[in-house]
């Protein structure tokens, strides 16, 4: 018999970025809130302390801050006709674990979508005609505009102390920033960190070609900074142990360094770690959520009744919990009906190795996830004419490594022996004199790419794993090839000894063995009505009006960039509506 806890006003599932944002918003409004986190309590001290955190093997390779796959993983297959197999070892993407979620080990890149990314189907149809979008491509518009989200993007950037330069300040294009960004109301809260040397070489080469490079917006504060909640961050020292690691310096924004300190003594908030939620409970008529069921750290089943349920786990986990709970209609790729699990997408990445002669001192270990890097946005989104190109979408192009950590990040030209004296000679020659240019490329959504429950494999509690059905489509491989051709021109202008681009080509299958990106998206998409989406513009479930779902699961397709800025903006947009409207009169915020 499950233990039944005292009912609360709201229960939060997953205590990462959006969980922390909603915990603050709901406790600000006076609600009693319980936040459930499956992983452990984590904080800067003692969990990310120097020097123990500067351990590449423990955190960068083994992944001691990541979700233990032995407990729960996903399964993957390429097509609907294949049998999926478990993602047994980390490769393609990385799940966070514990308080702060993936907001602990992230790169800290806070990216705003381009305004047209939010209305991508309409935009493409208007510019190129309806026939330009392939029939099996299931992209759709967000039911919310850039203008509506801008104040919330701005707020999140201030919460995080994001370092950068505005490229479009209230419609004025400004030198040094990204001229393609949507109009911003305000400058970034902290100035950019100095460009790493390779970033400077990239600036010079892109300028020669007429591109406008800019500092990649980074949630690594460049100065001592106090955020709007009164929480202080310190300047980033570019330690090289950023992404995959927790920050020891209170520089990289995480829920711990920006929001959680002000929640610590709130009497109306209780955080329970080691709480593995297995189901969102519904009333008999399946009209309302009534709370959640979870397994606590001692293996006991617990029911937590609540009037409001916030689902703020990682994107894939959100979708799995909806499916496990029987909320909404699971997507069927055969009929195209159903919405839960629909429109799974990912990130298309390529990498170009730039190998200089030994007199060019790259110092690859000086870096941070996003800080110190440079980028160009000319070939992203629909910033360029696609009429003759045979694809839609694009890539953000980024220059620079993140720490030159020698186990994971040793860059050697293709054709180098993998071992022996040839390998040693190449390591010695290239380690300090090479750097990468990477991309974050869009991935459209397709009728045959989706998420569902696996029929065979289960987690440590015997519950079905989530199954990913995904492979590359030609639209994305064409886009990647086009982007790579532009990168090669830029690299030629740097005059290195050698360059080599690795990209996913037509016919290549999705390969889970190699890290590409943790930007998995979709499956609980946001849309204009219940037939095309799981949640409305306020992140409210169409099925259960007292259930709100946050995260990149809302994205109808993926854009060229990083998801955290958008998913945080959507959460703050929702939080404002909950405070101003929902709490006064609970019910559907958009008529179905």
């Amino acid at each position: 018999m499950a233990e039944r806890k005292k009912p609360v006003d709201a229960v939060i599932i997953g205590y990462g970025w959006t969980g922390a944002i909603m915990a603050k918003a709901l406790t600000d409004a006076g609600l009693s809130v319980v936040a459930l986190e499956r992983g452990p309590e984590l904080d800067t001290s003692p969990d990310f302390e120097y020097p123990r955190i500067a351990d590449e093997l423990k955190y960068g390779v083994r992944g001691d801050l990541w979700q233990p796959l032995a407990q729960e993983t996903v399964t993957v297959r390429h097509t609907v006709n294949d049998v999926a197999v478990p993602y047994r070892k980390y490769g393609s993407f990385i799940f966070g674990n514990g308080v702060g979620g993936a907001g602990v080990h992230w790169n800290g890149m806070v990216w705003r979508v381009s305004p047209e990314d939010l209305r991508f189907r309409s935009h493409i149809e208007q510019r190129y005609g309806k026939a330009f979008i392939p029939k099996d491509m299931t992209i759709q518009d967000y039911p919310v505009t850039f203008g509506e989200l801008e104040p919330h993007f701005d707020h999140f950037e201030k919460v995080c102390g994001v370092s950068g330069i505005a490229g479009n300040l209230r419609g004025h294009i400004r030198a040094g920033g990204n001229p393609f960004e949507g109009a911003r109301a305000d400058e970034y809260p902290t100035p950019p960190l100095p460009a790493i040397y390779f970033g400077q070489l990239f600036d010079k080469a892109t300028a020669e070609l007429g591109y406008k490079s800019f500092p990649l917006p980074a949630a690594n504060s460049s100065v001592a900074y106090t955020n709007p909640y009164g929480v202080r961050l310190g300047p980033c020292n570019m330690c090289g142990f950023c992404e995959r690691f927790g920050c020891f310096l209170y520089s990289k924004a995480s829920p711990q360094t920006t929001i959680l300190p002000i929640l610590a003594d709130r009497k109306n908030l209780e955080v329970r770690t080691g709480a593995y939620v297995t189901k969102i409970l519904q009333d008999k008529t399946r009209a309302m959520a009534t709370g959640v069921s979870y397994i606590d750290e001692n293996g006991r089943e617990v029911v937590q009744p609540a009037d409001l349920v916030v689902l703020s786990a990682f994107q894939l986990h959100n979708v799995r919990l909806l499916l496990l709970s029987g909320i909404g209609t699971p997507y069927d790729p055969g009929s195209g009906k159903g919405v839960v699990g629909k429109n799974y997408a990912y990130q298309m990445s390529s990498g170009t190795g730039v190998y200089f002669s030994e007199d060019v001192e790259i110092n690859p270990f000086i870096g941070a996830g996003a800080a110190g890097k440079r980028a160009i946005d000319e070939f992203n989104s629909d910033h360029y004419d696609h009429a003759q190109l045979g694809f839609i979408g694009g890539s953000l192009i980024l220059a620079g490594g993140t720490g030159g950590r020698p186990i994971e990040q040793m860059m050697l030209p293709p054709g180098t022996p993998a071992w022996g004296t040839g390998w040693k000679a190449a390591v010695r020659k290239h380690y300090r004199h090479s750097a990468p240019i990477g991309t974050l490329g869009s991935v459209m959504s397709y009728r045959d790419r989706y998420l569902s429950l696996d029929p065979t494999y289960t987690d440590a509690h015997g519950l079905p794993l989530l199954r990913i059905t995904f492979d590359w489509h030609d639209n994305e491989t064409r886009m990647a090839a086009y982007t790579a051709s532009k990168i090669e021109e830029i690299v030629r202008a740097m005059r290195p000894e050698k360059q080599a681009t690795m990209l996913i080509r037509p016919g290549d299958h999705y390969d889970v063995r190699f890290y590409q990106s943790t930007h998995t998206t979709g499956g609980a998409t946001m849309g204009s009505n219940p037939s095309n989406s799981v949640v409305n513009r306020y992140s409210q479930s169409w099925d259960l009006p007292n259930l709100f779902v946050y995260g990149a699961s809302a994205f109808p397709q993926n854009f060229g960039g990083a998801p955290t800025g958008l998913l945080a903006g959507l959460a703050y947009f929702s939080a404002a509506k909950i405070r101003d409207t929902y709490l006064k009169s609970p019910g559907p915020l958009v008529p179905a």
Partner: protein
């Protein structure tokens, strides 16, 4: 988070055949060639004497003493690997290990065998020694360095059949752990004296470059420190 660059390694591992020929050298990797003291003797906990001989011999070829920089034996890589075998990692605790195991699935869907790292070594070493015994009449560790190299190449390419763990899987495990042991913090038993870090110019656990943010283009001048606070 994104380091698409790591795709590099895929092309490289899958595509390229090593074209190295190494002159036969009977040099002990532990010989005093670079002014470093002899490494302390280490008795393996997991590996048997025969397995230990294999691991030492293989590491001595994967990261050889000859050429530029330190060798894997000098850096303590075998000790690192033995110690890893006793940790949760060695027991496969980091991996999802529930069946069914569909080892016929496409390689792109990742590791699908039932074996933990320590089982891969146990089965892989036995199979390798059996194979060299049959083809050359000796265990791997007793072969001449040239012959060891050519056998490692065959394992790498999957050109030799092992009964349980495929040779290429065992090779990948061995090479991956060897690189880890070479470049990880010395607290795990490898990278002894931070030899590998000194050699490539990685500052280890310094993790503070405030003083070098405005020095772009100039070589970083300081040697490595370890998590324990040692300097080199």
């Amino acid at each position: 988070m994104t380091q698409p660059f790591l795709l590099d390694r895929r092309r490289f591992l899958l595509g390229a055949a090593p074209a190295v020929t190494i002159a036969a050298l009977g040099v002990s990797a532990c010989s005093k060639t670079s002014g470093h003291p002899d490494p302390p003797t280490y008795s393996p906990t997991y590996f048997s004497a025969a397995e230990w001989a294999f691991v030492n011999a293989a590491v001595g070829r994967l990261i050889p003493a000859e050429g530029t920089g330190p060798g894997g034996l000098q850096a303590g890589v075998p000790e690192f690997i033995d110690r890893q075998m006793e940790l949760p990692y060695g027991h496969g605790a980091y991996f999802y290990m529930k069946g069914p195991f569909r080892s016929d699935s496409p390689a792109t869907l990742g590791y699908q065998l039932r074996y933990s790292p320590r089982e891969i070594y146990r089965l892989g070493i036995a199979a390798a020694n059996l194979a060299t015994q049959e083809s050359r009449g000796q265990a791997f560790a007793l072969l001449a360095p040239d012959d060891q190299d050519s056998f490692l190449e065959r394992m790498e390419k999957g050109d030799v059949r092992f009964p349980s763990v495929p040779a290429s899987v065992f090779f990948g495990q061995l090479l991956g752990n060897s690189r880890e042991g070479f470049f990880a913090d010395p607290l795990y038993g490898g990278n002894r004296g931070m030899l590998a870090w000194q050699w490539i110019g990685f500052p280890g656990a310094r993790a503070d470059f405030t003083d070098w943010l405005d020095q772009a283009g100039r070589a970083y001048p300081y040697g490595p420190v370890s998590i324990s606070g040692a300097r080199a």
